[in-house]
Each structure stands twice: as C-alpha cells, then as structure tokens.
C-alpha cells in the first residue's frame, strides 16, 4: 500500500499541520486525522506485528474493529499500549511506536517464530508444555514453568507502563429519558425525534465527529450539518469521544468519555477520561455495522483492508490509500467505493464474487464477476492478488492481478453487542448474511445499520421509528436490507489441501485451519471453540472474525450457521482503562479517611498516626528522636506512674433511645441491662446468633430511655447494621431508635493515678468527679472550666484509675487544650494505640485481635458475664457441645521463659516435641511490659492457662524466626485484683 495525501478533499484541516513521531521519526499530519490516516498519508505500511507469528501487519480498517495497526501511544508514565491507531485522534506532539516487536515492527527478530508456525496451532501450549513426554507425561508441569515466561514474552501485545499513572479520572452519573448510542444518520435522527418531542436525550458518539457514515460521503455534508444543528437546538446533550461500553439492568449504561486523550497531556485540572453511569428510561442503539473480511491466504498482509476503510481514508481523511487497487466484494456496498477511488485517480479493479449484480454506480474501473481473492501475495506489503472462481464443487485458481491495495468486503455485521449485553439473542438473517438483534424485553431499540438497514434514506426512517418506540409510541421499523442485488455469503476462499494461513481472527492469529483443528479434536460447541482457539478473545472481542469462525465451524459440522449459534457478547464493548474504573478513588482516597475531632491537634502535638479501620489514630508520640519502642514503653510507664491522655474518639458510639431501649439492650447483651441505673455504665458483650462473640464495649445510661452504647472502633459499622436488622426484622414492635453518634463526640481516655486530679482541675465543679460523685462505672454530665459541656464516665481499659471524657466534637480541641495543660502540669503524657495495647495486654483485656469471630464468651475468659437468668442473642447456640469442650483454646497470658527474649504475635503455641501441625494455641498480641520488665503476650491455648501450669510451650513462627520457649500464665498479668482501677 502506498497511500498518499491528496491535495484536496477530506475533512482534514490542511491549514493546521500537526507534527507527530512514529517510532522516533518525525512525521506530519493534519487536524482531523487519526493516527492511522496520518501514518497512511506518510506511506507507512507496517505498523504492527501479530500476536503469535509476528507477521507484519498494517492498517486493516478505519474503526475500532482494527486488528493490525495496534500501537503504543505516549511514553514513560503515559505510555498506553494496544491503542488502535484508527481510533487515536492525531494531536501535535503525539508519540507512537510499534509493539510486540524487536528492534521494530519493520525488522522484527520475533518473525522467526513464523517459521515454526505449523507447531503453533490452536492449543499448542496445552499440548506441548504440560509435561515432557514420556518423562512428565500426565503429571508434570516443570518444563512449562520454564517455557511460560519465554512464551509470554514472545507472544503478546504491548507492555503497560510500570510507572504510576500521572493523570486523574472522573466518575460521573447522568440521567435521561432516551439514550441514543451512535451519531450516524439513524442516531442523529433518533435523537432529534425524541428531543423535538420534549424528551431529555443524551447522544453518545465514540468518534470525535458526529455523523457516522455521513462523514465518509462528501455529498452528505449539508445534511450532516443540518442534522447536527437541529439536534443541538433541540437540546440534546451530545457526548462525542464517548463509547458506550456496556448495557446493564434497568436502563443503566456504562460509558467512557475520552476527555483529553486527543491532547498531548490533560489540561490543568482536567481528567483524562470520565467513566459515566447513565440511567435512561429507554435506549436507542444506532451503533452501525462493521464490514467483515474473508478468510484467504495472506488476508492479513499490509495493504489488505476493508472496502469501507478505503472509502473513509479517501473521503474523510483525504488520503488515496493505494494507486493500483483491487476491490473484492460479495455485495453492493463496495461499488460506490470503487467509483470514488477511481475518480480520485486510482486504477481500480472490482472483483465481485457474484456472477451478476444489478448495481448502477458509475464504476470508472474494471468489473469482473465471479472472482474472489484466493491469496494476497507480498511480504511487508501486498504486491498482487491471486483470484479463485467457485466451480460449484470447490474453488479453482482464476488469474492474478498486480496491486498495491486490496480492499475486501465480505459483508456487514450489525453491531448488536450492546443488545447482547441485555441477553438479546442474535438471530441469523440468511438473506443479509448477518446476525440481527432479536426483540428486547426491555426498552432497547435498534436503529439504522445496527438493525440491518443499509439504505441511507431508510436509516433516517429507522432512527425516527426507534425514537418513537423509545417514547412509547407505535412505529413501524423499515425492513432490514437495502441492496440492489443479494449478497453472496462468503467466509473463506482456499484450495483443497492448502496450508497457507488465512486468518479468521487476525488479532489473535487464529486461522481457518485452527477452527478445523478444534473441530477435529472435538470442540464442537461454539463456546468451546472460542476458548480453545481464543477466537474472539482479543481486544476486539471478535468484531472482525467471529462470524467467519462460526461459518467455518458450521461447515465442519455440516450445519447451518444458526444451528451452531453464537457466543454472547459481554461488556466491555471496547477496553476500558483501569484508571477510568478507579476514578478518583486512588491513593489516599482509595478508602475515605476518617479523622477524629482531635486529628489535627494530635498531629500538632507530635503524633505518629496509624490506620485503625478507616480511621487514623495516634500510634505514639515520640519525644526527642525516640523510636516507637522507646516511645510506647515510656508512655505506658507514665500512665502507670502519673497519668496519660489518649484520643478515643474513634470508638463507635450509638444512641439507643426509646421506652424499650433497656429491654432491647437486655436482649442484645449477654449480661443484664434492664436494671442499669441512670448515671451508670456497664461493660457488655454481644454475641452473634451462632454464639460467637461479636463485639464488646460499655453502654452508658443517660436517662430512662436514653443510652449511649460504645463499640470497638472497627466494629461500629457492623454492630450498627446488626442492631438495625434486629429491630427491623425480629423485634419491630420494640420502640427503639438507633442513631450513630460516633461523629458527634470527641472522646479522650484520662488514665493513671493522677487522672482524677487532672480531670477535676478542668471542671467548673472539681468535685463532680470525686470518688463519691463518680464511683467506678459511674457517668455524670460535666461542665468544663471553659464552659464546654460533656459527659464523664469512670471506666478503665488500662487497669488504672481512669475516666473517659466526651464533649461535642466541635469543642474537642478546646477541651484538649485545657486537659493537656493540666496533664503536663502533673507530669503526664499523651499516649497512643501502641501504649494503649501495652496497658490492656498487661491487664488481659481483649480487643479485636482476641475477638476474631472464632471465640465464645467462655473462651475469652468472660463466661461470668453470660447471664443464666435471661435470654439473649446467641445464648442457645453458645451451648453446643463442641463449644463446651474443656480443651477449647482459651485466653491466656504468655511469658518467655528467658525473660530477655521476645516472641511474635501470630506465632503458634506448640509442644516442644511438635514442630508441625496446628499446635496447642496461638499468640494474639505481644508487647514489652514496663510494669513487669519483660516481654509478655496474650493468646489462646487449649484448656486455658491452668492446663499448662508449670509446662513449657514453644512460640513457633517458622516464617519469621526461631521458636521461643514460653510459659503460660493467667491473662491478668498485672494488678489482677484491680486495686489500682478502683483506687
């Protein structure tokens, strides 16, 4: 193919030249070009290498069905592989390069694989590399593991950039009455009809210009412009550069808008693409039709492309794609193209496979009937075409024609993919030799060529009819068809016994012989054929080759095409960038971050933060270059010696209100809540239905019918959902309202022997938290010296005299300023999660690490909290025999035998002589205890700590280190009597 730019004609703007680079070489195109048309105009023939055989490939189409000109656009972080050059809008500075080739697509060392092509038939890797016979026959994959990397390197598409994507992407939602997909003549008419009737219409077009096939017809320009103007005036929301890639339930469509892909880089603040979810009352699919090729030897040579593409390059892009052109057709559609190419100065031979045709288009070239292409000859570009004639009993060679371009029209396939997404079964139309979408039970209507309507005038009527139906009116669709003479169904041309490769699916290098081989090996289902040969599984999803493959399988089976069936198309219609799927939910916004009211205050005071569910919580407050270990040990020791203040705002808080609130809590918790007095808090355990512990926390009774439940930080959402479910499904008569108030309050734990002193110094009434006024597990409303009102409860997670102080979140920082001043004055500190963990491990208090969903209330050592006097959720199933076994793993404390050593959280507890297996238990938490002066841990061990008194176990952690000898002790490792807490 020796394409050249014409001096005039086409839609390109010759006053706006654009410089771009192809494989490092500077070339020039014009505004309005695609990368493919610009490359063609610059005489570039070989633009890619094939997937498996590394055969040279050129431009095969002018649209998204492209299987040859698949390139990498951009470089470094913006390198995007597998871009169809036919769909890439040219821009100044565009960089593109060939892929799947070395050193380049013109001289590719990988082409040597083509010499071994006979070994690379369908399923060759399954057969060859699943074990080396006879040594690995039926069992081994050793060699496969070695070859796999080589195969993957040799075969494939482009490589994605390893760098982070520098661009951003948006998600977006839109709603409309009618979504029209495709802005060709039928789509424009449908959009106009619906909009003029007052409907809210979105018109999505994948091209950067509206018009569809009108763009390829210079004489249709006035009509196109008039339609577009009318559409805009009617208020249609037009979305160019937008592909509808999927149709889903209830009128939902997935769209990708390429916002800035036509620019060197996105403008400031602009996303590269937008991922749209559009919900429409009705959808019109005016998605057009794709011209298909025919399988014959060398049908993938550079210089072989669809006839419609030849017309597009001539009329839209002002490029004469060849000088000596052979057009091989089976239908009327190529006649117009032949005439236009001849008028543009090409020497044209039109070979019509039909013995006669009634077409009256002025041809301007030679017309030969009864000939079909048998072989395209040439290597890096076609030089001649060998014809064949069907004798009735088979094909016979029938002459040859020199050429530099072979245009092929094997018929047209309406784009029914989106209808197929909705489960609409394609129906074979033998007269038109194509699949048409059947009737859809949903409000989805086909229009134009997508409905098999080939005639331009009928496309208008089809669009109008589809729009009317979308609006709920009766309308008659024009009948499919529109050619003067019927099509000659033709899928493959080959001489008997020929070994030459005729491609069915050029993008995946699937040949006609591969289809026949699959049939010979028993893959008779079209679904199996697809998977065995990978036919239709490349990035074009079989747009070029599926019907040819079906036809060949039908022939092999001796059936008609409809009897073979077709595979169901699935989203996406075209590939969707992962960035578009992710949208802005990346990096720090992969998950929404929850900040406590004291977040900024903590950071200002030296906190190092850590994740706790969605929250960021202070991990530790390092002083003067302390390590985390030094910091948390200091913090924990300070709490035990004086006091510490810890942000506990992230704890889940649920307002439980209503006259039945106490009864509700009484049913949820294992222990009694019905008689909890106002002004009192109680620690509670709630179980799942299956008797396992779900969550724990304290609940405060603020008034007769008003409680505040606290949950674990990470369990809050789960508990809220669970409680709502109970109220709505099991106990709908209980008058209880639940409201999350986790965000309403800023909360701190004030812990340590001097905690009362610090707290009372902050209050307007210092005696409000005296031992008498606020005994252990008491709750009072307090007023701070600065006027802030809040709640104080005397509860302890650390085992020290401790309080939790809650104020409205907006007052959190002011409260903290006050409290921190008093804390510092008394020699106290701020402490984070790590020290919090140390303090609770010393006390044997459980958290999510221990309450992991496998644990009963008895396992956790809290069996005394399981009331025998009342029913509660989980009560029945917690007494299953298996859960009552004495040798179940139970909560225990763990000391290293050698007190200078440590061990790992997550280690298995094994008997010394047992290095394998599940062991006798596991370690849930480890810390260095400043109170005890050595490392300690919590965990579960079979039978509990008393069963292992005086015995040695091994904390075994083979992945991370050597086993450590440990002894099992009571989980209450510090102040077991609780004297300090009650102090």
């Amino acid at each position: 193919m020796s394409g050249r730019r014409l001096d005039k004609g086409g839609r390109i703007d010759r006053s706006k030249p654009l410089t771009f680079r192809w494989d490092g070489k500077a070339l020039q195109g014009y505004a309005g070009d695609t990368l493919a048309s610009a490359l063609m105009a610059n005489g570039q023939r070989v633009l890619g290498r094939s997937f498996k055989y590394h055969r040279p490939r050129g431009i095969m189409s002018a649209g998204l069905e492209e299987s040859g000109a698949i390139v990498t656009v951009g470089s470094s972080a913006r390198a995007e592989p597998n871009v169809k050059a036919t769909m890439q809008e040219l821009f100044h500075g565009l960089e593109a390069s060939g892929q799947n080739a070395w050193p380049n697509v013109r001289f590719d060392a990988g082409a040597v694989s083509g010499l071994f092509g006979r070994f690379f038939s369908a399923g060759f890797y399954y057969k060859t590399f699943m074990g080396l016979p006879p040594f690995e026959w039926g069992r081994g994959t050793g060699l496969w593991m070695k070859y796999e990397a080589l195969i993957r390197k040799a075969a494939g598409m482009g490589a994605a950039s390893r760098e982070a994507d520098p661009d951003c992407y948006d998600h977006a939602h839109a709603y409309c009455d009618v979504l029209v997909v495709g802005a060709g003549p039928a789509g424009l008419r449908a959009a106009l009809t619906a909009a003029e009737a007052g409907r809210d219409v979105i018109l999505a077009e994948q091209d950067f210009e509206l018009g569809g096939d009108l763009l390829n017809d210079p004489f249709a320009e006035p009509k196109r412009l008039a339609l577009i103007k009318a559409v805009e005036q009617a208020g249609v929301r037009v979305m160019p550069r937008t592909t509808v890639f999927g149709l889903y339930d209830n009128g939902t469509a997935g769209l990708v808008e390429r916002v800035t892909d036509h620019l060197p880089e996105p403008g400031p603040f602009m996303p590269r693409q937008r991922f749209w979810t559009v919900r429409a009352d009705a959808t019109v699919l005016a998605t057009g039709a794709l011209e298909r090729s025919v399988a014959f030897a060398g049908n993938d040579r550079p210089g072989v492309m669809t006839a419609a593409a030849g017309r597009a390059y001539l009329n839209r892009f002002g490029v004469l794609p060849g000088q000596r052109i052979v057009i091989a057709t089976t239908n009327d559609s190529a006649y117009q193209t032949a005439g236009e190419l001849a008028a543009a100065g090409a020497e044209v031979v039109l070979a019509d496979a039909r013995e006669r045709s009634g077409n009256d288009v002025a041809l301007g070239g030679r017309l030969q009937h009864g000939l079909a292409p048998l072989e395209a000859k040439g290597r890096s570009g076609i030089k001649s075409v060998q014809f064949a004639r069907n004798t009735g009993s088979g094909w016979q060679a029938a002459g040859r024609e020199d050429c530099d371009l072979l245009l092929v029209s094997g018929g047209w396939s309406p784009v029914v993919n989106l209808a197929s997404h909705r489960g609409v079964k394609p129906e074979w139309n033998a007269e038109l030799a194509c699949f048409l979408a059947g009737e859809c039970a949903e409000p989805v209507y086909m229009a134009g060529a997508a409905a098999g309507v080939w005639n331009a005038a009928a496309c208008d009527a089809s669009g109008e009819a589809a729009a009317k139906r979308a609006m709920g009116f009766e309308a008659m669709q024009p009948a499919p068809g529109g050619w003067t003479s019927p099509i000659e169904p033709l899928y493959e041309v080959r001489l008997p016994g020929s070994k030459a490769k005729g491609f069915v699916d050029p993008q995946h290098d699937v040949t006609g012989d591969d289809v026949r081989l699959a049939h010979q090996e028993g893959f008779v289902s079209v679904e199996h054929l697809k998977r065995y040969t990978t036919l239709g599984m490349a990035t074009d999803q079989g747009k070029m080759g599926n019907i040819i493959g079906l036809a060949l399988m039908a022939e092999a089976l001796g059936k008609e095409i409809p009897a073979v069936g077709t595979t169901r198309f699935r989203p996406p219609y075209t590939p969707v960038a992962i960035g578009a799927l992710a949208g802005r939910n990346v990096h720090g916004h992969f998950k929404a971050l929850r900040r406590t009211p004291l977040h900024d205050w903590n950071l200002r005071h030296g906190a190092t933060m850590t994740d706790a569910g969605l929250w960021h919580r202070p991990w530790y407050f390092a002083k003067n270059g302390e390590t985390i270990a030094e910091a948390y040990v200091r913090e924990a020791a300070t709490v035990r010696e004086t006091l510490g203040v810890c942000d506990v705002s992230s704890l889940g808080k649920i307002a439980v209100q209503g006259p039945d609130a106490a009864e509700f809590l009484n049913r949820v918790y294992t222990n009694g809540f019905a008689k909890l007095a106002v002004g009192k808090a109680r620690y509670g355990i709630m179980l799942r239905d299956d008797g396992m512990v779900m969550d724990d926390g304290t609940t405060w009774r603020l008034a007769e019918d008003d409680f505040m439940m606290t949950t674990t930080t990470t369990g809050a959402g789960k508990v809220m959902v669970w409680l709502e479910e109970l109220l709505q499904t099991r106990w709908p008569r209980l008058r209880v309202h639940l409201t999350s108030v986790s965000d309403q309050w800023a909360g701190v734990s004030v812990a340590g022997p001097k905690s009362r002193e610090a707290l009372s110094a902050c209050l307007a009434d210092p005696d409000a938290v005296s031992h008498e006024a606020l005994p252990f597990m008491g709750v009072v409303r307090v007023k701070l010296k600065n006027g802030i009102q809040g709640l104080a409860a005397r509860i302890s997670f650390s085992g020290e005299l401790a309080y939790e102080l809650y104020v409205p979140a907006d007052d959190g920082e002011a409260m903290m300023d006050l409290l921190w001043a008093e804390t510092k004055h008394l020699g106290g500190c701020l402490y984070g999660l790590e020290a919090l963990g140390t303090l609770r491990i010393e006390k044997g208090h459980v958290t999510g690490a221990e309450l992991d969903g496998r644990v009963t209330i008895r396992d956790a050592g809290l069996g005394k909290m399981a009331s025998a006097k009342k029913p509660y959720i989980g009560k029945a199933l917690q007494d299953r025999p298996e859960l009552l076994r004495k040798d179940r793993p139970q909560l225990a404390g763990i000391f290293p035998k050698d007190r200078s050593k440590t061990f790992n959280g997550g280690a298995l507890l094994c008997q010394p002589e047992e290095g394998e297996g599940f062991g006798e238990g596991w370690v849930t938490a480890v810390t260095h205890s400043p109170a005890l002066g050595h490392w300690i841990g919590l965990g579960y061990v079979a039978g509990g700590h008393e069963a292992w008194a005086g015995r040695t176990l091994m904390a075994s952690d083979p992945v991370r280190g050597a086993p450590v000898e440990v002894e099992v002790v009571s989980p209450h490792m510090f102040d077991p009597e609780g004297g300090r807490m009650h102090g």
Binding site: Y175, P268, D810
Partner: protein, 202 residues
C-alpha cells in the same frame, strides 16, 4: 466560651482555584448551626410531625424525601420516622424534649454542612452521587439520603444550591474529592455562617 473547631476548619481560607474565569462551583462551609434529630414512633408520627413543624415554624412537617423551610429552621425528612431540624446556633424556637411522642438527639457536631452552588454544582455532585439531580426530578425542597464514596450523606436542594450534610469524620476526605473534581469547572471556596436564608427553599 469556646474555640469551636469543625472538621474543615483548616481549609476555610477563601480560595479561588482551578479553571480560570467565573467559578463553576462554589463550596461554602457553613458554620454556626444546630442540628436536632426528631424521631417518632409509628403511632406518634402525626404528633411528632406537628411538634417538628412547630419547632421549625413551618405549616407542616415534610414527607419522605422532602425539606421544608420555616421561620425558625429547616426541616428535613431523613428517614420514615425521623426529621432533622436545622437552625442557627442559639436560635430560639419551640423547645423540644424527648417524651412519649418523640426522641430528641443533638447531632450538631456529627455533621459538616457544605453548600454546593454555581452553574456546575449539580454536575460536580453527580461525579459522586448516583442521584437524578435534574431540575424536574430534584427541585428545591427535595431531599435524599445517598452514598458518597460509600459514605452515607444527606443532600437537599434549595433555591441557592445544594446542601450536603457530611458525617464529620469523613468530611475532610470527601471534601478533598469534591475540590479535586471541581477544579476543572473553576472552584471558589468560602466560609459562611449558617442562616435561614442559606437554606431558603422558596
């Protein structure tokens, strides 16, 4: 008394950013409001509605998915049995107390209020909210509970724009998303004291 800090305080400096020209979106951080939840029981719905309407100073409590503006506050029906009463901090109105008909709960610190206004306000919100915000479908006086990046939020429309109530702990993170997307339309951010005019519906 206090140095009240809301979730977005550090971002409250008025900013004009993104695409030059007239701002397509204005994000206004609203301060100084009181948010009270009024929850009814099925059998006290009418009585509770009357109490809520009296507190807001409007004729009748709004039905599901609606907001109503009264002389003393804005009333939103956020759940079948729950209203939110939004008032200026310090606003005096008919006192509300929990009783047999209603359960009252202060949520003033639990939500951060952001007004989203400007010609691209709906477009911006639709980057995140799967709601039909076309004027005919969601005019002033409509309210919805919906999800913003998997976080439950409350949205209602006034004549001045959209009001978005964000859970306080998520507010900064969600606002970063709003701002990041809004730059393409031209963004103005500011702090505004809540007033009944802000929430004026008609």
């Amino acid at each position: 008394m206090d140095d009240q800090m809301n979730a977005l305080q550090k971002q409250l400096v008025p900013v004009r950013g993104g695409k030059p020209g007239p701002a397509g979106v204005t994000l206004s951080q609203l301060t100084g409001f009181r948010l009270t939840q009024i929850a009814a029981w099925p059998e006290t719905l009418a009585e509770a509605g009357a109490l809520a309407a009296a507190a807001a100073g409007c004729g009748a409590a709004p039905g599901p998915g609606r907001a109503a503006q009264g002389k003393d506050g804005t009333l939103l029906r956020v759940e079948p049995l729950k209203w939110w009463l939004l008032q200026r901090a310090g606003q005096t109105s008919v006192p509300l107390q929990s009783g047999s008909a209603v359960a009252i709960l202060d949520l003033s610190s639990a939500r951060t209020l952001v007004q989203v206004s400007g010609p691209q306000g709906a477009t911006l919100l639709n980057h995140f909210l799967p709601l039909d915000l076309r004027q005919a479908s969601f005019p002033a006086g409509h309210a919805a509970s919906t999800a913003f990046h998997h976080v439950g939020v409350t949205l209602w429309r006034t004549n001045a724009g959209f009001m978005l109530a964000l859970p306080r702990s998520f507010a900064a993170s969600l606002r970063e998303l709003l701002e990041g997307s809004a730059l393409q339309y031209g963004l103005k951010t500011r702090e505004t004291a809540f007033s009944l005019a802000t929430g004026e519906l008609e």
